[in-house]
């Protein structure tokens, strides 16, 4: 590992840092809106990483003008990719936000844990089963087969 702190190195660290911040935010937050924002930050980090991949120190924009040779330009491919990635990210965020709006209406909460609990209860009720983790009805019973009546099966 080289200890040269050149620009490239710092940029990569920054991009990965953004990803890390975003991912930690997704985990740490319980508030839905913060989670979605953290997702946006993480996506920004990933996009940054992509665009750095094509960057050259002192490079020129990849546009043909007089006096700039292709050898001096930066890589155009990551730029095209990052354009795509950004648009995809926007789409997903818009989707998440519109879902969040409706979920808030359905469960009157933006706390992801409360939403999850309410959702599980909904699913269980719809399937007509009692809570999956009920302590009153241990699931171990009758899983192998019948429990044999005391006098007939003992050996």
């Amino acid at each position: 590992m080289s200890m040269v702190f050149d620009l490239q190195w710092i940029l990569y660290t920054g991009a990965i840092g953004l990803i890390a911040i975003g991912l930690v935010g997704i985990i740490w937050s319980r508030h839905l809106f913060r989670i979605i924002l953290s997702l946006a930050i993480a996506e920004a980090g990933a996009n940054l990483m992509l665009v750095i991949a094509g960057y050259r120190l002192h490079g020129h924009a990849p546009i043909m003008v007089a006096g700039v040779w292709p050898e001096q330009m930066v890589d155009p491919v990551p730029q095209a990719m990052v354009l795509t990635a950004i648009v995809i990210g926007v789409g997903i965020q818009a989707l998440a936000l519109s879902l969040a709006i409706r979920v808030k209406e359905a469960y009157h909460s933006l706390d992801i844990d409360e939403i999850r609990a309410a959702m599980q209860a909904d699913i269980d009720a719809q399937a007509g089963v009692t809570g999956d983790l009920s302590q009153e009805e241990p699931s171990g019973r009758e899983v192998i087969g019948p429990t044999v009546a005391a006098e007939e099966g003992r050996s």
Partner: protein
């Protein structure tokens, strides 16, 4: 096309014909006819039973470079004979009056016949398997075919068959593991390659393969500790189906053991394997397992109050005798074990058919609700009497021969403790079969059974045929011993010298013809004395008194509840249900893990995937 092809194709044809007629009334005749045809073809193959070289099927084909071989040798023929015999008898029994009864109860006799034919077909296929792959395929087919037969009755049978299939799948997976290991080691699944390689393998490997294959077969046999499914699952199977399953289905496990342990690995290798820290060899351990399989289920049978369950539990114990005999590796003992397969099948079949004849007439198999039927169903009584004499191992029936051979070999091979264990088992057998016949046929007839009549002919004839076979093969065991000797030769066991009357041995053989003649001479003398003195006088069973009171028909004096109360007072507290406890421990543990997994999916945040990723990457980088 060889005769073996003809046999398998006939079986397949029977299956298809049964399926085609499954909703009609003559499905039973179709099935019986088909099974009869199969038996006929098997008789054409009879030279196999006397040691002719193995017959290979032309149906073999390649799957992914692995040839599937089908072939019959003496052992296959012997087992196939019992299978087809039991199948035919059950099918005939299920055809006549019984099927009307069954249909009236809202069930479909057609599906029962189909399930029977399917069982027979898959078993014939299993017996034909000539390599590990076809062995496993046929094994699974047999398992699921008997599952179908068990589940047919619906109701409580569903739960028991679920239990069975869980055990059976566990066993099959164990076999599959062994299969994979064999393939890894030899690069093929042929028996020949296996036998060529087995000599170089280490003791640990031999033990592993013995146990993995054995566990699969042991589940089917109901060998301890895999026996818990069997009694209930069999008892809930519809009548003739249970007779078939009880007579032969479990023995497919024994076939597998003989094939893998005896023929392929060789008992010598098992004897060479010493279990560390003990003075036992692997073979000894297996024999002790067999001994406990004799004792525990037999004494469990003693406590049953349902005739079907009593016989089913009992059947588990009898498997132990066969296994013990075969594992003794001597000519006499192994012949006894192999012979007992035949004898037991006939005994168990006739007993179950008799029990279901009683059920047919009275509607119950509860031993506390029967009694005194001797006067109403004398032929059924005779059939059952023959069966229990055979099962208990008393001359002149065939059960005596095989048990005598096993005992004698245990003694002569120097295994007195095992001998004691099996004698204890036999004691339990005698006690429990006595309970069966006493509570059913002897004693006082219940009022509601006054109008009961003898079972219909369609049911009596199969019983009588079986009873005759039991007596004949007891009188002249040499008939069967010929086949047994061929089996011994086929699997590489020492061959027993035998005569038509029994065992030829310089140090005291067995001549059943002589013995039976002497016995009957004794009977004749006693009868002569009995009738000549003229001291007896027949009386009505209510022309009697007890405790100073005259009896009337509405007073119950038939002693059946708490049978063997005195004995139970002594040994009752030894019944601990340890295996049930063990099973429930395993189930609870699995349940705990399952709950944990479900919770994982229910409660987990997206955090965990991230954490997992970080951990995985760290692990890989470092």
């Amino acid at each position: 096309m060889s005769l073996l092809d003809a046999l398998l194709l006939t079986a397949l044809g029977t299956l298809i014909a049964t399926l085609a007629t499954v909703r009609t009334r003559w499905v039973g005749y179709v099935a019986s006819l088909g099974l009869g045809l199969q038996l006929l073809v098997l008789f054409l193959l009879a030279p196999l039973g006397y040691g002719a070289p193995a017959v290979t099927s032309g149906l073999a084909w390649d799957l992914f470079g692995q040839p599937l071989v089908l072939r019959y040798d003496a052992m296959s023929w012997y087992f196939a004979l019992i299978t087809l015999g039991a199948g035919l008898v059950s099918s005939v029994y299920a055809t006549g009056a019984w099927s009307d009864h069954y249909r009236a109860a809202g069930r479909s006799p057609g599906w029962l016949q189909f399930a029977l034919a399917l069982n027979v077909f898959t078993m014939l296929l299993l017996l034909a398997s000539g390599d590990f792959l076809s062995l496993f395929i046929a094994w699974e087919l047999v398992s699921w075919a008997s599952f179908l037969l068990m589940a047919l009755a619906a109701g409580p049978a569903l739960k028991w068959s679920l239990r069975y299939i869980t055990y059976a799948t566990a066993g099959a997976m164990s076999m599959l593991a062994a299969l994979g290991i064999v393939f890894h080691l030899t690069g093929s699944l042929n028996y020949a390659d296996f036998m060529a390689a087995v000599d170089q393998w280490s003791v640990g490997l031999i033990t592993l393969l013995t146990v993995l294959f054995g566990a699969g077969f042991a589940v089917k046999m109901g060998i301890l500790p895999f026996h818990l499914w069997q009694a209930g699952a069999y008892a809930e199977t519809p009548g003739p189906g249970m007779a078939f399953l009880g007579a032969i289905s479990s023995r497919m496990g024994l076939y597998g053991m003989m094939l893998v342990w005896v023929q392929l690995i060789g008992l010598i290798r098992l004897i060479e394997v010493h279990i560390p820290l003990t003075f036992l060899s692997l073979r000894d351990v297996l024999m002790w397992i067999a001994a406990f399989t004799i004792i525990l289920p037999t004494y469990t049978a003693l406590k049953q109050n349902d005739a079907r369950r009593l016989l089913a539990w009992h059947g588990i114990g009898q498997g132990g005798y066969m296994l013990m005999g075969i594992l003794s590796a001597s000519a006499l003992g192994s012949a006894g074990g192999i012979l007992h397969i035949f004898n037991y099948a006939t005994n168990q079949a006739v007993l179950l058919l008799a029990v279901f004849a009683v059920v047919y007439r009275t509607g119950t198999a509860d031993l506390n609700k029967l009694g005194g039927l001797f006067t109403r169903m004398p032929l059924t009584f005779v059939a059952m009497l023959v069966g229990i004499i055979g099962l208990a191992g008393i001359p002149p029936m065939n059960g005596f021969v095989s048990k005598w051979m096993v005992y004698r070999s245990l003694l002569s091979e120097g295994m007195p403790l095992l001998f004691v264990a099996s004698v204890i088992g036999t004691l339990g057998t005698i006690l429990s079969v006595y309970k069966l016949i006493h509570n059913t046929f002897l004693g006082q007839l219940r009022l509601e059974h006054e109008p009961v009549q003898e079972a219909p002919w369609s049911m009596v004839i199969p019983m009588m045929v079986l009873a005759l076979i039991i007596f004949l093969t007891g009188f002249m065991p040499g008939i069967v011993l010929d086949w047994v000797a061929a089996v011994q030769a086929a699997v590489g066991l020492p061959v027993l010298p035998h005569t038509l009357g029994g065992v030829a041995d310089a140090h005291g053989g067995l001549d059943m013809i002589m013995l039976v003649l002497v016995l009957f001479a004794g009977f004749g003398v006693s009868a002569l004395l009995f009738y000549a003195t003229g001291r007896s006088e027949p009386v009505h069973q209510l022309d009697n008194y007890a405790g100073g009171h005259f009896l009337s028909a509405d007073v119950r004096y038939h002693y059946s509840d708490h049978f063997y109360a005195g004995l139970m007072h002594r040994i009752g507290h030894w019944y601990r249900g340890s295996f049930l406890w063990f099973e429930s421990v395993v189930a609870s543990l699995a349940s705990f893990l399952a709950q944990w997994s479900a919770t994982f999916y229910r409660l987990m945040q997206p955090a965990l995937p991230m954490l997992a990723m970080a951990v995985i990457v760290l692990w890989m980088v470092s």
